[in-house]
Amino acid sequence: MDFTSLLEIFASGTLGTLRLFAVTLVGCLVGGTVLAAMRVSPTPVLRGTAAAYVNIVRNTPLTLVMFFCVLGLPYLDIRFSETASINSFALACLALIAYTSCFVAEVLRSGIATIPVGQAEAARSIGLTFSQSLRLVILPQAFRTVIPPMGSVIIAMLKNTSIASAFNNRELISAMRNAIEIRGDIVIPLLFATALVYLLLALILGRVFDYLEKKWVILR
């Protein structure tokens, strides 16, 4: 087993991690925004539902959520694809989205709380409806103020994609285990290589969020 084939294994693993990450990123931002909007809405039923969902899922280990999604949902005949690998990928993404959305929603809600009362009052007094004021005035500002905590939620999500390795997904950790099976004599370098890839990805993400923060954040 030469160096290039090990590199190939790691490249495919990194690609798998990035794919899980990209799908979950889009999903959890959308899901989190919807949950946050529900939590501040005038309709009590929506508020209660969102609060219950967030409190339950946030207190469940991601491992358990993924267990339920990847191994449990097929029992209920919920499948996304005929191919086993695509199916487990979709279900793992679903679990990650369901879990991370809660944290995104909580961060956004704390962001909404930091927006000066005058903004919401002004929006109302020019006659905007609830959904308009949320969409045009409150949420754009909330997104900007919460960039730093959002960054740590997203980086945590990147690290959480590693849990998908236990559920038939191709990503960095499973690539590492694969490589270790082949080359049991260089365990330590392989472990370090995996750690390095994760550190690099987290570093890049951190830089992206630093840039976004400089560009967008509103100082109050």
């Binding site: 409190n55 267990f67 339920f68 449990g72 029992y75 209920l76 409150i138 950790i173």
Partner: protein, 276 residues
């Protein structure tokens, strides 16, 4: 509820109230329909039959589940204590006045904090698993990761203590270590208690990863029972409920501590009493 969420919409008038009721009913129906769909799916897949849930009445199953729960809790308990110790140690190392100490410890901290906790558990298991067993592999993996996060929390807490405290301590002749031990650390721990407990909840959740290195924790038992009695889904739900209850208890403890500490500092801002 905070102020801005209240001003997001007006005090409802007659029309808004009517719309609100209609919306409540509509959204309630949608949510009920979603729940009904899930229940129907369970029913259709035959997951609601008595045979699937009956095993939970057996003492054997109950003790097995509780054993798994205890195994998970044991990991979390040992790892929290160790992580707290490691966290304080690394916070102090990072704040050390000599760069020769603070720079390497910063590097170590950033590495352990930047990788998934699963990788650390695997690494410990692969490298030392034969000698120390799966229990200590999980504990050490969790300790390394959460210890570093706690170190950052503690460091932020120590730096957040007003500067006058350190200056006052120095000026009454305390040494550097005494200042840290007697003045700065107690205040930092108190200020950071809610964040620390939130991290313990994270650790508790991560302790569910033990089954990946064949540690016989709750998830391991859940999978075993699910296979033996062919009731994987019901067992998941029971396991999840156990986890959620424990996590919510710890989170409630955090809230209680937070209010209690606020009360304590608010009430006793007089000359220090001997009883403390």
């Amino acid at each position: 509820m905070s102020a801005p969420t209240q001003v997001l919409f007006d005090e409802p008038g007659p029309r808004a109230r009517r719309n609100n009721v209609l919306l409540s009913i509509a959204s309630g129906l949608v949510i009920l329909a979603a729940i009904a769909y899930i229940v129907w799916k369970f029913e259709a897949a035959g997951q609601l039959t008595a045979a699937k849930w009956e095993p939970f009445a057996y003492t054997v199953i109950q003790t097995t589940l509780l054993q798994g729960m205890w195994a998970t809790l044991k990991v979390a308990l040992v790892a929290s204590v160790l992580a707290l110790a490691v966290g304080i140690a690394f916070a102090l190392l990072r704040l050390a006045p000599t760069r020769a100490i603070s720079l390497p410890s910063t590097l170590v901290l950033e590495i352990f904090r930047g990788v998934p906790v699963l990788l650390l558990i695997f690494a410990t298991f692969l490298l030392f698993g034969n000698q120390i067993g799966s229990f200590w592999s999980v504990v050490i993996g969790l300790t390394l990761y959460n210890g570093m996060v706690i170190a950052e929390i503690m460091r932020a807490g120590i730096l957040a203590v007003p500067r006058g405290q350190r200056e006052a301590a120095m000026s009454i002749g305390l040494r550097g270590s005494q200042t840290m031990r007697l003045v700065l650390l107690p205040q930092a721990v108190r200020a950071m208690m809610p964040t620390l407990i939130a991290q313990v909840v994270v650790l508790l959740k991560d302790s569910a990863l033990g089954f990946m290195v064949t540690y016989q924790d709750l998830l391991y038992q859940v999978r075993l029972i699910g296979r033996d009695y062919n009731n994987l889904l019901p067992t998941f739900i029971v396991g999840a409920a156990l986890f959620i209850v424990i996590n919510m208890l710890v989170a409630a403890l955090a809230r209680w501590l937070e209010t209690r500490m606020q009360r304590k500092t608010a009430a006793r801002t007089g000359p220090a009493k001997a009883e403390d």
